[in-house]
């Protein structure tokens, strides 16, 4: 920086052809959303996607209407999340609020399965099963029925508002809203007896919260599947970011075979294929992509791996007379080796990898723990809490008395009568606090809390702490449910 003020001002200063790498025009903070008009496509993966859509929507809408007989004292809905009754019913499984760890286990299991599937087969979830994908697909189908395919949609979008455009748009949004209402409507049936609630909803006698949730889910469905679409996956969903950690070079991805395709270029019928790639640069893969991206740019965050571009490109390859699979499911390792002989790719899929084994083992572990606890789940439970204030009471004859709080859970769907017994304290007397009968009735599928006193003669208590058992005996069946606790006295 040796500036020389004495230099003449008339020196010829040339303009250098350079600009800062971070020039403002290179870094816009926000971009206008580019609208996507995906073209319809048919093929193997499109068929699989329709099948997945039909299965998932069918399950979602039909499940709450399935019946499951549980006797007269319990609801007969196969899947029911009963908040007022504080029970979760799933076919033969019934969960009480304190058993919410089953839900936790289920979520862990679901996460692990997602990890395993992702590490083996990439973003199968994103492409085929995610509600965002399924409902967006359904909405796009409606859109094409009314407005036509990609080109017709683009034309309609450009034309000024006419009566015909208005009618088409009104029909589209009307049907979208109907589907959205049905989505929200199906949701609330999981939380109440479906036939009763349906009748109440129609008569406008259902609880306010039902209408609230239908409205909420109508709004989100219409917004997310109708308008937000790919923006949800690209900008709102955390999973595309997380899944990078699940994938490796052996995970199945939708890939473009660069070595086979390049150099790309237009191809005329009869022209030689020598010295050029198979890609005819028709951009059909971009036109069909629901995310609006170019798979030829490589694996991208935006790509949901729905494989519609595979169907589109296979169709083009058939038409130009080149082998299928220019765009195909393959692993990055498979792309490296580029052995077209080992085709299709799944034949050389490396399933046994440390990460897949770890995920699979975790799934088996969590699954078997859950199954074991579910199978050994007691339908009757007793819990005894010893009083601490006071620890014990001395009676006038010198003997001692302890107080206990007993919780009796009857998970059977029938009224049961229990008798409380004491074992291990000879001569001890058990009595209910505040009087009342010796026998305890517990309603079907209910919990009852009782307070009892146990008075024991000095002879029965050799030390200050004597272990013993309080037993709830079912008067009808004779089943005994013991709980080990202690009896305390002064020295």
């Amino acid at each position: 920086m040796n500036a020389a003020p004495t230099q003449p001002m008339t020196a010829d200063i040339g303009i250098i052809d350079v600009e800062p790498v971070n020039a403002a025009k290179h870094r816009p903070l926000y971009e206008k959303r580019v609208r996507i008009f995906p073209r319809a496509v048919s093929g193997r993966y499109r068929t699989m996607k329709w099948a997945a859509l039909a299965t998932i929507l069918g399950l979602y809408y039909i499940l709450p209407w399935l019946r499951w007989d549980r006797g007269s004292n319990a609801p007969d809905q196969a899947v029911l999340i009963d908040f007022p009754g504080q029970r979760f019913h799933f076919f033969f499984i019934e969960i009480w609020p304190q058993e919410v760890y089953y839900i936790t286990g289920l979520l862990i299991l679901a996460a692990l399965i997602l990890f395993l599937v992702s590490s083996v087969a990439g973003r199968i979830w994103c492409g085929y099963a995610c509600p965002q994908t399924v409902w967006t697909d359904l909405f796009m189908w409606v859109e094409r029925r009314i407005e036509g395919n990609r080109n017709a949609q683009m034309r309609l979008d450009r034309t000024p508002w006419t009566a015909q455009k208005l009618a088409k748009r009104a029909a589209k949004h009307g049907i979208w809203l109907l589907i959205a209402v049905a989505t929200g409507g199906a949701w609330v049936f999981y939380f109440a007896d479906a036939p009763t609630l349906a009748a109440d909803l129609i008569r406008f006698e259902a609880p306010m919260v039902s209408y609230l949730f239908i409205g909420l889910l109508t709004g989100t469905t219409y917004l997310l599947a109708g308008h937000a679409r790919e923006q949800v996956c690209t900008f709102m969903c955390p999973w595309p970011r997380i899944q990078g950690a699940m994938l490796d070079e052996h995970s199945m991805l939708v890939t473009y075979r660069r070595e086979r395709g390049e150099p790309r270029g237009a191809h005329k019928r009869g022209q030689s294929w020598e010295g050029r790639g198979d890609c005819v640069d028709c951009k059909t893969c971009v036109a069909v992509c629901p995310m609006g991206i170019d798979i030829r740019d490589g694996n991208q965050l935006e790509c949901i791996n729905c494989a519609l571009c595979v169907d589109a490109c296979n169709d083009i390859m058939d038409r130009v007379g080149r082998p299928q699979g220019l765009i195909a499911y393959d692993t990055l390792a498979g792309l490296e080796t580029q052995s077209a002989a080992a085709w299709p790719a799944w034949r050389r899929l490396q399933l046994l990898r440390p990460r897949t084994l770890l995920y699979a083992m975790s799934i088996v572990l969590v699954g078997s723990v859950m199954l074991a606890t579910l199978l050994s789940r007691a339908d009757t439970d007793i819990a005894v809490l010893r009083d601490r204030n006071p620890l014990f009471v001395q009676l006038s004859d010198g003997s001692f008395r302890n107080g206990y709080t007993i919780k009796l859970q009857n998970k059977r769907h029938e009224v049961r009568r229990f008798r409380l017994l004491v074992e291990g304290l000879p001569g001890a007397v058990l009595s209910a606090v505040g009087g009342g009968s010796d026998d305890t009735q517990v309603g079907p599928d209910q919990l009852r809390t009782l307070r009892v006193y146990v008075a024991a003669p000095l002879a029965a208590t050799p030390g200050t702490v004597t272990p013993f058992e309080i037993i709830a005996a079912d008067l009808a069946t004779g089943e005994r449910y013991p709980y080990a606790t202690t009896f305390r006295r002064a020295e």
């Binding site: 870094r27 001395q394 009676l395």
Partner: protein, 286 residues
């Protein structure tokens, strides 16, 4: 990808470079910005509608008049209104009926427990376990009777207070301080008293004679006490002021008697009844 020619070469970068690693510039969609503006507008609306800004004294109330305090007060009033029905029944029903009605019993036990914690635990302890001079209410030894009616009477009128004419009252003479007995006689009668609850049975001799002369009128000839007089049973394992020689002698020489307020003047009748039910449930007899 840095270094090799890839499909992303034409994507602008932020211009930052760390060891050959560059960062793509991927702008957010503009609707994201509009969403942010919408939340800003929402927050301004929220300030206007809801309580928001702290002031020197208090805070801005908001035009909707939302107040969590008011909601709590409302909920408390609702609970009180729901309780009123039970409280009315408790006022009207005899104690025995409350005790045998499971619904009323659980209501009275809960109400009695909280009233006990506020009014009684200072002397009788939070677990009603008492201490020296303050009776343990969990045991089966009752100075003034352990039936529901007896307990309710004691709570209502209290013991040895001057504000209620009907308060339970008795007074044990101070044989030492007032020189009613010689020290040797006191020792004899204390020894005799201790023998009442011993395994060997009551001893004979001078102590027995003094007991019959001085003590039996209240504590009974057999020392088992007279509940109507509030005179304790001296033959059992429970001693209000201690059961060892020194403690008994101290009581004979210089008698003490606890004072309990007449809660009938201080608490509403339904609370007294709930207290009676609760205390009876701890160790009351019939």
């Amino acid at each position: 990808m840095a270094g090799s020619s890839g499909p992303h070469d034409d994507v602008p970068t932020t211009g930052h470079e760390w060891d050959g690693i560059t960062e793509f510039n991927k702008p957010l969609p503009r609707w994201w910005l509009w969403t942010f503006y919408a939340t800003v507008i929402w927050s301004i609306g929220y300030w206007v509608a809801m309580p928001a800004w702290p002031l020197i004294e208090g805070h801005t109330r908001g035009v909707l008049g939302y107040s969590q305090r008011a909601i709590v007060a409302e909920q408390l009033a609702d609970s009180r209104a729901e309780q009123a029905h039970y409280l009315q029944r408790i006022v009207e029903a005899p104690l025995e009926e409350i005790r045998t009605d499971p619904e009323l019993l659980s209501f009275a036990l809960a109400g009695g427990r909280s009233a006990f914690a506020v009014n009684c635990s200072q002397c009788h302890g939070s677990g009603a376990e008492g201490s020296v001079g303050y009776p343990n209410l969990n045991d089966d030894d009752w100075l003034w009777g352990g039936s529901l009616e007896d307990i309710a009477y004691t709570i209502r009128h209290g013991v040895r207070n001057e504000s209620d004419e009907d308060a339970r009252f008795n007074e044990m003479p101070s044989y030492g301080r007032d020189e009613l007995l010689e020290p040797a006689q006191i020792e004899a009668v204390v020894r005799y008293t201790m023998s009442l609850s011993s395994a060997g049975g009551a001893a004979a001799g001078e102590g027995a004679a003094i007991f019959a002369e001085e003590c039996a009128i209240c504590h009974g000839e057999d020392g088992k006490g007279i509940m109507e007089l509030g005179a304790p049973n001296l033959t059992d394992a429970i001693w209000l002021y201690g059961g060892d020689y020194e403690s008994i002698r101290a009581q004979v020489e210089n008698a003490r008697g606890g004072v309990m307020p007449n809660w009938g003047d201080r608490l509403p009748p339904e609370t007294v009844k709930q207290l009676a039910i609760y205390v009876h449930s701890l160790g009351g007899g019939t």
